[in-house]
């Protein structure tokens, strides 16, 4: 599973291992500033990269609150 999302820190905090950062909260896989054709091309490139992560090995990582501060 690849998590394609905009607020990456939340995805990390619940332990996602493969994360692909999205464009913006209301359009993680789009961009209304582009023409329809450009936007479609951008999305295809994005998903091509995202699916390629499915075939990459990843190491286990922890969730949030790993650091402990001394006060």
């Amino acid at each position: 599973m690849v998590h394609l999302c905009t607020i990456v820190p939340i995805s990390k905090s619940v332990g996602a291992n493969r994360i692909y950062p999205g464009v913006a909260i209301p359009y993680p896989t789009g961009d209304p500033a582009l023409s329809e054709a450009e936007e479609k091309k951008m999305r295809l490139e994005m998903l091509k990269e995202a699916v390629s992560m499915l075939a990459e090995p990843v190491e286990s990582r922890g969730g949030a609150a790993e650091t402990e501060l001394a006060e």
Partner: protein, 345 residues
């Protein structure tokens, strides 16, 4: 005591999701819930300024927001930061956490109010006193009363070291304090209590990590059956299954045809936590069906699974999210799916 208050664009009465990109600003007065907060705070605590930022900007540019808040805190000579309360609002909760972090970096105490499952808690708990709240704003007055009382304790320099007694969530900070007995004796007493089956309380609870063992990589992407899952809530026009706008109670499977074909023009957005304007014009902006079909056509992936999995992630209880995750994973396996892309707003 100079108090600075952080709120979002909604509580500053600027607007809802359509104004979630509202830029950071400083207002030299109490605003929105700050008015009630001011009336509850001790007499010599004054809200010098209110910091306001749109929730989308805050969540998308956390480092920038932290810098801007730190700068404002310095300029105002802040002695205490109060953020929110944000209850279970995810982006707002993050923003309150960011504000606490900015204050922490300057040695200024910070207080906020968040629901325990708000993502801001796990990410920023070290940086401020987070008072646990109900999940929604119905408890605003009661929460502001607790925040004000806590601010009073800070102002009077009272002992606020015990999270349980003082009513805030454990921060995970270490501080050296004097106790009646040395550690060895306390540890032995605890061990004796344990052996005798008496109740005892650890002094250092282990942090629960959300660790998920990563799945092994696909051997051959060009032969894999890949599915698409989303928490963004795209539904067929009219939302026939009545998928809820927040705290959804179900997940659904749709077909491309239910959305009027790959251009995903016949889409409503059930999710109540982001502006639906963009995705309702083209559902691919949150649920990239057209790209997945193209990747199948180009042979990048072996097959694009035609069952499309949809739910709404807005304010979903973590326990239900885990249940949905397990159910959807089971359904994907039964459907012969090898891997999936999950999109979230």
């Amino acid at each position: 005591m100079k108090v600075i208050h952080y709120i979002n664009q909604f509580y500053a009465q600027i607007g809802g999701e359509d104004k979630a990109d509202h830029p950071f600003e400083v207002r030299k007065q109490a605003v929105g819930p700050g008015l009630m907060l001011q009336s509850l705070l001790p007499d010599d605590c004054r809200i010098e300024a209110t910091l306001v930022c749109g929730d989308n900007l805050a969540a998308e540019w956390p480092d920038e927001l932290e810098k801007r808040i730190a700068q404002a805190l310095k300029e105002c000579g802040a002695e205490l930061l109060i953020a929110g309360p944000a209850f279970n609002a995810g982006r707002y909760g993050l923003a309150c956490g960011i504000a606490c972090k900015a204050a922490y970096s300057l040695g200024i105490p910070a207080v906020t109010g968040l629901y325990e499952e708000n993502p801001g808690v796990a990410l920023y708990r070290q940086f401020g006193f987070i008072l646990p709240t109900e999940s929604n704003a119905r408890s605003m007055k009661e929460t502001l009363e607790r925040i004000s009382a806590f601010a009073g304790r800070l102002q009077r320099g009272e002992d606020i070291l015990d999270p349980e007694k003082c009513g805030y969530l454990v921060r995970g900070l270490r501080k050296n304090v004097w106790t009646e007995h040395i550690g060895a004796r306390r540890a032995v007493n605890m061990a004796l209590d344990k052996v005798h089956g008496r109740s005892f309380k650890t002094e250092l609870p282990m942090i629960a990590f959300s660790r998920v063992p990563p799945s092994p990589p696909l051997e051959d992407l060009s032969k894999a059956n890949v599915a698409l899952v989303t928490t963004c809530g795209p539904v067929p026009l009219g939302n026939p299954d009545r998928l809820e706008a927040h705290a959804a109670t179900k997940w659904k499977i749709y077909q491309v045809e239910d959305f009027g074909g790959p251009a995903l023009k016949d889409v409503d957005i059930a999710h109540g936590g982001y502006s639906p304007t963009y995705a309702e014009r083209n559902g691919n902006r949150v649920f990239p069906v057209d790209a997945m079909l193209e990747l199948e056509a180009q042979g990048v992936i072996g097959h694009f699974h035609r069952d499309l999995y949809v739910t709404v992630g807005n304010s979903m209880p973590v326990s239900r999210a885990e249940q949905f995750g397990a159910e959807i994973a089971r359904s994907l396996k039964d459907g012969g799916v090898d891997a999936a892309i999950l999109t979230s707003a």
